[in-house]
Symmetry: none
Subunit: 368 residues, 2 copies
DNA sequence: AACGCACGTGAATCATATA
DNA sequence: CTATATGATTCACGTGCGT
């Protein structure tokens, strides 16, 4: 093997300060095992700021790097960086991209067009998402990750057994329940405000790295930001390459990663689910067929009656609302636990609706 | 109004047997309130999985260029049916599409390209998904729905309050946990095997219809299959239009829907949203004698005071204006809902002036 | 020390009727 | 069409302070 001066070296465990495409083009081909990418989402926010009910302003992502002139411009950018990543990926490498409904469909289409092979789409269910303040839509409570191999060709790393073992011996599903990056973990600037507008939780990135790479593997992140991927990679005994354009983020990432203590054995598999998540909406009882829309609920002594509506609200006279609200209303009380107050008739006997909730929870125990 | 022979009639509560595009093109424009679509997923499993827009089969070939051609054909088909749906949608109609990672990125991109405005992406988390038998990927435990309005223009139906009421008084999130369509609900053929390969649970479709349409609205499903959308629509007091190419499915759908018993109208009455209630000027409270001119208003914590003037304005110091303007002014906020901010003293207790408005509205209700 | 409560905040495509 | 006035709207956590 002689000297090959035209092949650039692979910078390991370094943060490259520069443009993502140019920096990727400067890397040697077929050299990384895994890519984690958190590209701009191309949020198309209106000119007016969004106010919370208390009239305080939501700190929106209005950074220049998230502005694109059109879908065409965003698509061109997406194809460029994906193609550049593809060149530096080893043949059996895989890639993760995270996004929201604003951009993930563009990204997914581009992946397919470029010959990537989608292995899974993964849903990050946020434990504590921001509410929809104006009540105009469903709470935007998740983001989507796409996991893809370089091509349809077989052969990639997936630690099926480890994931299963860390998940009560059940296969790891495509929906992951994790909290946002807040509190201690969230990097703050000197002013005490968040340093990066979209810092991801390390547990999320860690799970992608654990599932799809081996210790010693090289993990590339072309949108490094404040270095969550680097921190997770170092902690899990992987090497990393980060590319970031913003000097302030580069410096923060370097300091952050320097402080990370690598784990001797990977024990971060089961992410902190924080709370079990046993809440069952009354609507689910209808959907499960345990209560029929149009049927009647009553209290234990049959003093009050309410009609079950198909949306999971109930009505008493002209009023309609949740089981709790209507329970309080008919009794003239400020509050009421509808689960224990309301009953349904089953074979001539009154059964508290809480019993049906228990049934759902029993069936759901393994899945949640 | 004279005869307008060029405008076709709207076939209601019927299953149209025929090609989806041709049937859509035969419908009058701006005539449906909601679309639910469960298009072919373009699973890349083998031959005959992909159809051209003219419904001829594409030979599956592994060549790169043909792979691209396959996506192109699927995209062309997707744009065609989406565009055809868009034409028959009323300006304030919305559309739901369900898909998996095989096709949803193509569909989402096409929606955006055609001018649809994405409102939410919704994750259907399957309670009982099929496991990944080979242990090569994460269990594919969800499908994705996209909810989009016809354009970015405001104004669409969303029953925020009803959904919240059916969900323990919490906003409905973008991740829905529902079981697959199995058991009794799953239609079987004479041979006892499932009649349709991808029959969706009625509860899933019902939730989309409940959240985004009103009783009496017209719900269109261009890929009707065995008529889940029709069954859900009929049960919920909506009208439906179904289009299906396969005669066996058409017949099964007709029989199935005929057997559906609609819910009572009482159970379907839409709860009035706050915004839809009649507007009551503050002056009316004075005229009704509920508030006296010259009396004082204060906030809940008695930090601010205002004087009620006989014309229905209030004043704080030198400033005077509406309850909203002065409420905003004293707090130094850009806006304020005066109805909930200001209180009046009644028997030593503070009562929000919104309570007096409710009294007036109640009186209006009985009078009307 | 333990507990409770007030306050801050997170990738957000977040209003509508009337003049 | 634009401009204006009305007035609707939040969940899960973490931190910090006061009792």
């Amino acid at each position: 093997m002689g000297l090959v001066p035209s092949v650039p070296r692979l910078p390991l465990d370094e943060v490259i300060h520069g443009d993502c495409i140019a920096a990727l083009d400067a890397l040697p081909p077929s050299s990384v095992d895994l890519v984690f990418a958190d590209p701009p989402y191309n949020l198309q926010l209106g000119p007016a700021s969004l106010l919370r009910p208390d009239q305080s302003a939501v700190d929106a992502v209005d950074d220049d790097w998230d502005q694109f002139a059109s879908f065409e411009a965003y698509d061109a950018f997406t194809r460029q960086w994906l193609q550049a990543c593809r060149r530096v990926m080893k043949p059996n490498a895989t890639l993760w991209v995270i996004g929201s409904y604003h951009n993930i469909f563009r990204v997914g289409s581009a992946l397919q067009d470029l010959g990537f092979w989608i292995l899974n789409d993964i849903v990050w269910r946020k434990a504590n998402p921001m509410p929809n303040f104006r009540g105009k839509r469903f709470t935007n409570a998740h983001e989507t990750l796409i996991w893809a191999s370089r091509s349809a060709q077989k052969g990639y790393t997936f630690h099926y057994e480890a994931l299963k073992g860390g998940n009560d011996d059940l296969q790891m599903r495509s929906d992951w329940f994790l909290p946002l990056c807040t509190g201690e973990e969230r990097l703050k600037g000197a002013d005490g405000r968040k340093l990066h507008p979209t810092q991801k939780p390390e547990a999320l990135v860690a799970r992608t790295i654990l599932s799809a790479s081996n210790p010693g593997d090289v993990v590339l992140d072309p949108f490094f930001g404040t270095g969550t991927t680097g921190a997770a990679a170092k902690r899990l005994g992987r090497r990393f390459i980060g590319i970031e354009r913003e000097p302030a983020y580069v410096q923060a990432a370097r300091e952050r990663i320097a402080a990370v203590e690598p784990l001797s054995t990977a024990a971060l598999l089961t992410a902190p689910t924080k709370r079990a998540e046993p809440r069952v909406p009354f609507l689910s009882l209808l959907e499960a067929g345990l209560i029929r829309a149009g049927s009647q609920l009553t209290d234990e002594r049959r003093r009050f009656k309410a009609l079950v509506r198909p949306d999971g609200t109930i009505s008493a006279g002209p009023a309609c609302g949740s089981i709790h609200k209507i329970g309080a209303l008919v009794q003239g009380l400020p509050a009421c636990n509808g689960w224990t107050f309301w009953h349904a008739e089953r074979g001539g006997r009154l059964v508290p609706i809480d019993a049906f909730r228990a049934e759902i929870r029993a069936g759901l125990g393994s899945a949640a």
